[in-house]
Amino acid sequence: MKKIEVERISQSIERICGQIACVYDPDILASICKGRENESSPRSIAAMDTLVQNAQIAVEERIPICQDTGLAIVYLKIGQDVALTGGSLYEAVNRGVRNGYLGHFLRASSVDDPIYERKNTKDNTPAIIYTDIVDGDCVEVSVMAKGFGSENKSALKMLTPADGEQGVIDFVCDTVAKAGPNACPPFVIGVGVGGTFDSCAVMSKKALLRPISVSNPDERYADLENRLLEKINAMKIGPMGFGGNTTALKVQVEYAPTHIAGLPVAVNMCCHVCRHGSEVIE
């Protein structure tokens, strides 16, 4: 059985945290530049230009793109032929997040208790951790740094089968309308359809990991993604909510089998930075 030291996973997470905080995904930056060409109002153009200039400064000076460097969400695809050695996996993940956030001067944005003390944990741990056991003998590490300006505007609804596609479209559009200027448009929007209450929400977030140049492989869902994007951009919320044509850069829909009585839909709103990165450890 192949052995992989958990320390390598920790180091990978540390690297990704530093990288995604300061460097835009090139596809997303290209999409922002393209969107800028479709804007006509001075404020919307100014907002898009600011985002592009900001991206350059962030890379050159290694300053985070946004001060909300997010909660760290770590996805591990662990090959079933791998033996993880050298200590606790979850401790290694949190060590990677701690070193990544402290070492790269990222913001500690995690509080220990949501209602009462709300005391900052000072190192952005604990991470939100998801593990999948997959075929093979590698570990794929993905990290998303999710800001809460957009997370706060996310929503889930248990539709019924009769609501169908139209119900899904209406709920996604309603959620985007409610997010409006507050969640930092232009957005990337993750949508989960099907599964259960909990798995649907997980799917909507995982959808944000997919590169924006890639649509759902199922043609029907790829078509749904395109139609949702068209409808959302027709809302004219625009960059930063200043009006205009670029409200969203991409809608990513993931689906899963569900119960005969159900049609859960979850919408995970994400701002224009949409930070995530992956490494494969062999």
């Binding site: 100014a46 600011t50 300053i63 001067f105 500690a108 000072k122 300006g149 200027p181």
Partner: protein, 176 residues
């Protein structure tokens, strides 16, 4: 573009119109969720605030830590609406300017009209660029809140738009 000096003057506030771009220079304070809660608790208990609210402007920001050669780390606006419940009381106690992003509640818009205040919005997710406009930072209260501590900052040519003017006109509802 219009240059605005902080602290804000009454006459200047009156000239501002929702949607117009402005450059802010001068002194403001940083505070967000946790600090607002504490400030309001202090006012309710009759305690002396860590800074004079009269005529002050508050920037809703929780910056990333500064590296050795930096005044401040990434420092863009956070969503203002989370501070809405605290604004009416701060307005009664002299707050004049707010800087953030996103829509405000009816209560905030009413307070802005009543107390002749102004709300500026800047580009969300442009923290690296905006950090260049901040020339000094000194933490003056609640250091235990880390990024959420209250700091006095100096800004120079800090780019914003007028979000809500004294008449309650809203940048997000403009037609043009």
């Amino acid at each position: 573009m219009k240059h605005i000096t902080l602290p804000l003057q009454k006459e200047e506030i009156e000239t501002l119109q929702a949607g117009e771009p402005v450059l802010l220079s001068g002194m403001m304070y940083t505070a967000r969720d946790a600090a607002h809660k504490k400030l309001v608790e202090m006012i309710e208990k009759g305690e002396r605030l860590p800074f004079d609210l009269h005529g002050a402007s508050i920037y809703y920001v929780g910056p990333t830590p500064a590296r050795e050669n930096q005044v401040i780390g990434s420092a863009g606006p956070t969503t203002s609406s989370r501070m809405d419940p605290y604004v009416p009381l701060l307005a009664e106690n002299g707050l004049k300017g707010m800087i953030g992003k996103g829509r405000r509640s009816k209560e905030v818009i009413d307070a802005i009209r009543k107390h002749q205040m102004v709300y500026f919005v800047c580009t969300g997710g442009a923290g690296a660029l905006l950090s260049h406009c901040i020339t000094s930072r000194e933490v003056i209260a609640f250091p235990e809140l880390l990024a959420e501590a209250v700091a006095r900052i100096e800004v120079k040519d800090f780019p914003c738009f007028v979000g809500l003017d004294i008449h309650g006109n809203d940048i997000y509802d403009l037609e043009d």
